[in-house]
């Protein structure tokens, strides 16, 4: 065997082994500044999708809700003054009087995930985000999640069964016994719609907020949507939606 060649081959095996494994490192973290963008998930929705979706949906819902209730509005409760399904004027005098005492109490039941993706740890964060934003509105006061959980536990009612009036009444009674009378039930539903095209796909994320008036049964619905494209490589964005505009076929 040629000695030089052998040595070279030996060293090459080492070099190959070593060179193929360089670049491995540990893990680092850093704090994002306020102006830093949210990261866009490569395989699933992520912060850049969910955060604006929630903000938009809640803002739309609050924008459509009736303004803050003033006691003077109930001086003549028998006279309809507002055509909104959330109008308090149609309520009986006792309820109207209760609402007149302050902001309406909203019971946020939870988020139902009907999408193609697992929400994972986002679910509870979205809940808190929606809950906090509802609470910041002067017209509403959110009921503590712990009280909601306790009422669900006491009644053993499923969140999706609260649409039935009889269940709603039982649930409201349980909350009332805990000292938290409820005026509105709020539901959030996350859905997705996926379109596949060869190696690319588009997924539309939609969050729907549904607010049910406990006293009248009327409901209000608002939703927000974000569309997102997924590709196997970076050029997919420009190929489908950019200069080449191939998304429409």
């Amino acid at each position: 065997m040629n000695t030089v060649k052998t040595i070279r081959r030996c060293s090459l095996i080492f070099a190959f082994s070593c060179s193929s494994i360089l670049g491995c490192a540990g893990q680092y973290g850093h704090i994002l500044a306020k102006q830093d963008k949210d990261m866009v998930g490569s395989h699933a929705a992520g912060a850049a999708t969910w955060n604006p979706l929630v903000d938009e949906a809640v803002a739309q819902l609050l924008g459509r809700c009736p303004p803050a209730i003033h006691p003077v509005s109930f001086q003549n409760a028998s006279t309809p003054t507002n055509a909104s399904p959330f109008s308090t004027a149609e309520l009986n005098p006792e309820i109207a009087a209760a609402l007149a005492n302050g902001p309406a109490s909203v019971c946020f039941i939870g988020i139902e995930n009907k999408s193609a993706e697992e929400l994972g740890d986002f679910k509870d964060q979205l809940y808190e985000r929606i809950d906090a934003q509802i609470n910041t509105a002067e017209t509403f006061r959110a009921i503590s999640r712990r009280m909601v959980d306790a009422a669900l536990l006491e009644t053993r009612l499923r969140p999706d069964s609260l649409f039935l009036p009889v269940n709603r009444t039982a649930f409201a009674a349980a909350l009332g016994r805990q000292g938290a009378p409820v005026d509105y039930l709020l539901y959030a539903t996350v859905t997705t719609g996926t379109t596949d095209r060869n190696k690319s796909s588009q997924r539309d994320y939609e969050i729907t907020l549904e607010m049910v008036n406990m006293h009248s049964g009327e409901f209000l619905k608002e939703s927000a949507k974000i569309r997102k494209g997924y590709s196997k490589n970076r050029t997919g964005k420009w190929w489908n939606y950019g200069w080449f505009d191939q998304a429409d076929g």
């Binding site: 065997m1 000695t3 052998t6 139902e112 009907k114 679910k123």
Partner: protein, 501 residues
């Protein structure tokens, strides 16, 4: 006059270091085996002492010994310590580079035990799953996070396996226990039934044999966590002795030789490209001819015998069922080992080629030719290769199977009798009795560690009634209550359990 050639000092040093290294390794492996046997015999203190000694003596064995130590701590009732240890190990494995150049180079000179220990894919998921189990046996604060981490890690492994040119379904085996625990925890919130349904559906797809999943799916998609005035008891049992690795001599397969040949030729071609020039000789184009290597030492999965098939559960004297297999850890280990075997053998072949080439180079440099050269080559290469050992480091105290049983019970205090059952449904020992307080609408967990009929039961129930039920051989720790099966005070109750095969 005969010329006396002194051996190359570097080669001598290398051989001495190799022998010393292997001697130490052999001692540690024997000790960790002894520790595992002590654990199986129910001697937790002896097992803990041995594992501590192994972790202290051999840096290579530290991580594997610490993984085992966490199971011993959990079985001892110290769930908080087990959780803390597993958390540290998880972070360590996550931040350890996939491959370390220094250790890989050392592994080529010695054997695979010189590589940094990295748990197998299923072991990485099991670390997170066992973290969840430890949390359920302790304060339960982080249990849901751990289950989520386990599921996410599974997804990551699946994505990595998809990128590999190995068969995706061979290398990646999802583990049902992680989504199951997530489903259990989400259902217990009483408002995240949709999450629970998804998790149970995943469990059902991963392990269709798990019959209870159908009831779980039906309940979470249309029912309630439990009837009013009732709570739920979950018995999570780690049953049997888990898979370990043992060294065997395996023949070199065609697939392994092909991988080794590809790697070596790739390296050679890279160099030829770098050194192309007018004086390049024709023989540079010759592919490397692999020496005739018939067999190499590789690790093989062995599942130690254990007569324990399942755990029977009696509530207040009435049999309510047996735990059902949710995850077969032994099967996962065998599948993973089989999938990785071509690469393991290929590494051994590459190592052998390197050693043969190095010995030939030294022989040439010493001027050894003809018969003397051949003898030297044969002796040195055989001695060097003979010191090789297969990498048998693994998490040996994982159970063979993880089994669960769900029982909806009226709120209040209940006597829970857990009994080890054999494959014929026959009781193997008298079992353990625990007093458990079921709370309305809540879950209660009993963690059973049963490598053999010697069972250890851990519960997070800190009520005074429970603390009085510790059997005479059990110990009470700060973080939980543990009982063991050696209680002679328990009367053997005739029970009729059936084992579903």
């Amino acid at each position: 006059m005969a010329t006396c050639h002194l051996p190359n000092p570097g080669l001598l040093l290398l051989l001495v270091v190799t022998f010393a290294h292997n001697a130490g390794c052999a001692r540690s492996v024997a000790t960790i085996d002894s520790a595992r046997k002590a654990f199986a015999m129910g001697d937790l203190k002896e097992a803990a002492d041995m594992l501590h000694a192994v972790a202290t003596e051999s840096a290579k064995m530290t991580d594997a010994a610490e993984l085992d130590m966490a199971v011993v701590e959990l079985a001892s009732g110290n769930a908080a310590a087990a959780e803390s240890r597993l958390r540290i190990l998880r972070d360590r494995f996550d931040t350890t580079p996939g491959l370390s150049p220094l250790h890989e180079a050392a592994a080529i000179l010695t054997d695979d035990t010189a590589r940094i220990f990295r748990p197998a894919g299923y072991e990485e998921v099991m670390i997170r799953t066992m973290l969840a189990v430890c949390s359920l046996a302790g304060d339960q604060i982080d249990a849901e996070s751990y289950t989520l981490q386990a599921i996410n890690h599974q997804a990551k492994l699946a994505a990595q396996a998809e990128k590999n040119f190995l068969n995706h379904s061979d290398i990646y085996q999802p583990i049902a226990v992680a989504p199951y625990l997530r489903g259990v925890l989400r259902e217990a919130t009483h408002h995240d039934y949709d999450d629970a349904t998804r998790s149970y559906q995943l469990v059902s797809s991963v392990r269709p044999q798990f019959a209870a999943a159908q009831a779980d799916i039906a309940r979470s998609s249309g029912g309630a966590h439990s009837a009013p005035g009732h709570g739920v008891l979950y018995v999570i049992s780690c049953v049997g002795r888990g898979p370990i690795l043992q060294e065997i001599v395996a023949p070199t397969t065609t697939a392994a030789l092909a991988i080794a040949s590809t790697v070596l030729n790739s390296a050679t071609n890279q160099t030829n490209d770098d050194t192309d020039g007018p004086d390049r000789s024709d023989d540079d184009d010759e592919p490397i001819a692999l020496p005739n290597i018939a067999s190499v030492k590789v690790p093989e999965v062995v599942i130690p015998n254990s007569p324990l098939a399942t755990v029977g559960v009696l509530v207040n004297g009435a049999a309510i069922g047996t735990t059902e297999t949710l995850t077969d850890v032994g099967e996962l280990a065998i599948l993973q080992n089989t999938a990785e075997m071509p690469w393991t053998i290929a590494r051994a072949v590459i190592r052998r080629v390197t050693k043969e080439a190095a010995v030939a180079t030294v022989g040439d440099s010493l001027g050894l030719e003809g018969t003397a050269g051949s003898l030297f080559h044969f002796a040195a290469a055989s001695a060097w290769s003979g010191t090789e050992k297969a990498d048998t480091r693994c998490w040996g105290l994982l159970p063979r199977e993880i089994q669960v049983l769900r029982a909806e019970l009226p709120a209040g205090i209940h006597q829970i009798h857990l009994m080890p059952l054999g494959y014929g449904g026959n009781p193997l020992a008298t079992g353990v009795v625990n007093t458990v307080t079921i709370t309305d609408g809540r879950n209660q967990y009993l963690i059973v560690v049963a490598p053999t009929e010697q069972m250890h039961v851990v519960t997070s129930d800190q009520t005074p009634t429970n603390s009085g039920t510790v059997t005479d051989s059990g110990t009470v720790t700060d973080s939980g209550t543990v009982t063991s099966t050696t209680a002679p005070t328990l009367s053997t109750t005739p029970v009729a359990f059936s084992i579903a095969n």
